[in-house]
């Protein structure tokens, strides 16, 4: 889950990482209250998960309440590269003496955490990496040991962070690592990390991606629910605990296993169709999960046919078949369904389906044949 900047800053604050005082606002009046509380001058920042918001006019400076009213009313509702601004973050403006960069993420190839620090902050780090790679210090952190104080000191010194900022930067780097590990983030990034003329250092931006697998030990993440996606299908799927990604085609996909679901998308594409979604009902999927999956796919007005592709391992064939039958009794499925069922207890599963077969529910033995049938339905 990608957090908005304001959520990222709130998350940083939980771990003691200094951020500018500020507040989030959904209306102009709320923006003025937040600005009054933070103290003028303030910066008003559009909350969208897309780059280039500054250039698009989504970040403005205001020195009094009437300027806040003017800018907030322009920014709220603005469309930035397809993302409509629903919230602004209003924070006290900072004087900047120097801008740095700091992040932690997992280096999958090395199977270790990766710290990246640069004295060239405030611009896209990929740009720095391309034009001045020597300006970025990269250090692997062994997850079995963690980031030691000595590591943090060494990284900050090696990166050439200005002397007056070093001790503050070391302590922020240690807090950022704590946020990354204890906060179960896949990515934590501060860009820029700023030094003010009076010698203080704090995070001026926050980019945080949370590891969804760790949500069981973070009840506080519930506050982030419902703010991430603007796609109602994805919202509906998330409420039902399903792994769903919305696409724009006409063949609804339900498969068990992420690999098979991806493969199903590819095969639908290869036979001339367009997938409406990715949906993995996972291992151990019960009748209730299948029914939920059908409801979500059925809610998509673009869906003209549904392709259920199940190869039984942890999901047993009769559970899948019972799930389809249960779902058909529970909701009116508007599109014809093509099922391809194989694997563990597939024989039992197919027998259950056979008893319910019609011109709206058919089964095909192979992935390609089932994809062709679903694509043909979608074309009518």
């Amino acid at each position: 889950m990608d957090l908005f900047e304001y959520q990222g800053k709130q998350y940083f604050a939980r771990y003691g990482i200094p951020v500018s005082p500020g507040g989030v606002a959904q209306t102009v009046d709320e923006a003025i209250s937040a600005a009054d509380a933070a103290g003028y001058p303030v910066v008003i920042k559009a909350q969208v998960q897309v780059g280039g918001r500054g250039k698009a006019g989504g970040i403005k400076l205001a020195s009094n309440a009437s300027e806040v009213r003017h800018h907030a009313s322009n920014i709220l509702g603005m469309d930035i590269r397809g993302h409509v601004v629903q919230r602004v973050w209003v924070e006290r403006a900072s004087d900047i003496k120097a801008e740095y960069y700091a992040s932690f993420t997992l280096d999958r190839a090395a199977r270790m955490h990766l710290a990246m620090v640069s004295k060239e902050g405030g611009i896209d780090i990929e740009h720095v990496a391309a034009t001045n790679p020597g300006a970025i210090i990269r250090r692997h952190i062994d997850p079995a040991i963690g980031l030691t104080h000595a590591d943090a000191v060494d990284i900050i010194h090696s990166a050439g962070i200005d002397e007056e900022a070093r001790s503050g930067a070391v302590s922020i780097l240690e807090l950022l690592y704590k946020c990354y590990v204890e906060g179960d983030a896949d990515l934590v990034e501060i860009n820029p990390l700023i030094l003010t003329p009076d010698g203080r250092i704090h995070a001026l931006d926050a980019k945080v991606t949370l590891d969804d697998n760790a949500s069981f030990r973070h009840p506080e993440w519930a506050a982030f629910d419902g703010t991430e996606s603007s796609d109602p299908r994805e919202q509906m799927a998330r409420e039902r605990g399903l792994q769903y990604v919305g696409l724009d085609g006409s063949v609804g996909i339900i498969a068990n296993g992420a690999g098979l679901a991806m493969s199903t998308l590819d095969v639908v594409n290869q036979v001339g169709g367009t997938p409406a979604n990715f949906l993995d009902i996972g291992g151990g999927a019960s009748a209730a999960v299948m029914a939920n999956a059908l409801e979500v796919v059925n809610s998509d007005p673009n869906v003209k046919a549904i392709f259920i592709n199940i190869f039984g391992g942890i999901t047993r064939g009769e559970e899948v078949a019972n799930g389809i039958v249960t779902a058909l009794g529970r909701v009116t499925i508007t599109s014809p369904i093509v099922v391809r069922l194989d694997g563990t207890n597939a024989v039992e599963g197919r027998a259950i389906l056979k008893a319910h077969e019609s011109d709206r529910l058919i089964s095909r033995p192979t992935m390609v044949e089932a994809a062709q049938a679903a694509v043909a339905f979608a074309a009518h």
């Binding site: 270790m112 991806m262 694997g343």
Partner: protein, 294 residues
């Protein structure tokens, strides 16, 4: 022959008393796997249809000589289950559980590498391993596999692993071992570990490799295939149509920026001399041709 497991492998199931652990533990035993024990700290002394339950892996190993472990415990308990198995002297640990936090798996992978370098970890979030006719650890439906070789299979995806077994079995092509390495960002065993073992295994004469979007393991495997492998490799990569920046079910299946695309992986493997197929059925057909010419 087979890789990593064989008919002498004795397996303890951590989570045998849970519903999935019981279902698959019993299925694995019915297949012929030596399922020698289960663990549950609260149910030591009981048994699951004759499989003795011990308080912990140490006790299970002392009593039964278990060499491998299969973990079905829920995600929050996986890290301690893995370390418990390693500390008890288990040499091969298979984690079926999905949804393990990335921080946990990065930590226990590196702790094993540091403290138990001889212990092999497979998974998390994997279907397990099957050497047809000898040993089946995990959730693979044994009836879709055929023994005798000559094909070894390695895959990041569970259901695509079954698909590959099924395609080959239908064509009358046997398998030596089929390894599901799992779809997480830090797999305990990776493509190269399996390719290396298959290259050394005299009974494996061709390899089917199934990858997907995300990370760079397939590109690293391509490099290995180019320089170290003499046996033919047939490859299928899932996710050609996956949009960038979206996690496709598996925690590890995400295109980050321009890296991790199916296209880039297919190109790397093709130029390494692998046979690249565009869907699982075609992969089976290509393998049939490869096997016919061995």
């Amino acid at each position: 022959m087979s890789i990593f497991v064989n008919e002498t492998t004795k397996v303890v199931y951590q989570g045998l008393t849970g519903s999935a652990g019981r279902f698959y533990g019993l299925r694995n035993r019915a297949y012929g796997t030596q399922v020698v024990a289960g663990t549950n700290p609260k149910r030591a002394g009981e048994n699951v249809e004759g499989i003795p339950v011990f308080a912990n892996v140490h006790d299970a190993r002392e009593a039964t000589g278990a060499t491998a472990s299969c973990i079905f415990v829920p995600a929050p308990g996986v890290e301690s289950a893995v370390m418990e198995a390693a500390e008890a002297g288990i040499e091969f640990i298979v984690v079926i559980t999905e949804g393990v936090p990335a921080k946990d798996e990065a930590r226990f992978y590196n702790r094993l590498a540091r403290e138990f370098p001889r212990t092999r970890l497979l998974g998390p979030n994997c279907p397990g391993i099957i050497s047809p006719g000898k040993c089946n650890i995990g959730i693979t439906a044994g009836e879709i596999a055929t023994g005798g070789g000559p094909v070894g299979i390695v895959s990041r995806s569970g259901t695509l692993t079954y698909q590959a077994l099924y395609e080959l079995t239908q064509k009358g092509i046997g398998q030596t071992t089929c390894v599901g390495i799992g779809g997480d960002p830090v797999p305990g065993t990776n493509f190269i570990d399996c390719l290396e073992a298959f290259q050394r295994d005299p009974d494996t004469r061709a390899v089917m490799m199934i990858g997907e979007i995300g990370g760079s393991e397939e590109e690293k495997a391509a490099d290995f295939i180019k320089h170290e492998m003499t046996k033919p490799v047939v490859v299928y990569i899932a996710g050609v149509t996956a949009p960038p920046g979206r996690r496709m079910g598996h925690a590890g299946a995400i295109i980050s920026g321009s890296s991790g695309t199916a296209g880039a992986k297919m190109d790397a493997l093709r130029s390494a001399g692998a046979h690249v197929a565009i869907n699982p059925t075609e992969a089976g057909n290509v393998m049939a041709t490869v096997v016919a010419h061995l």
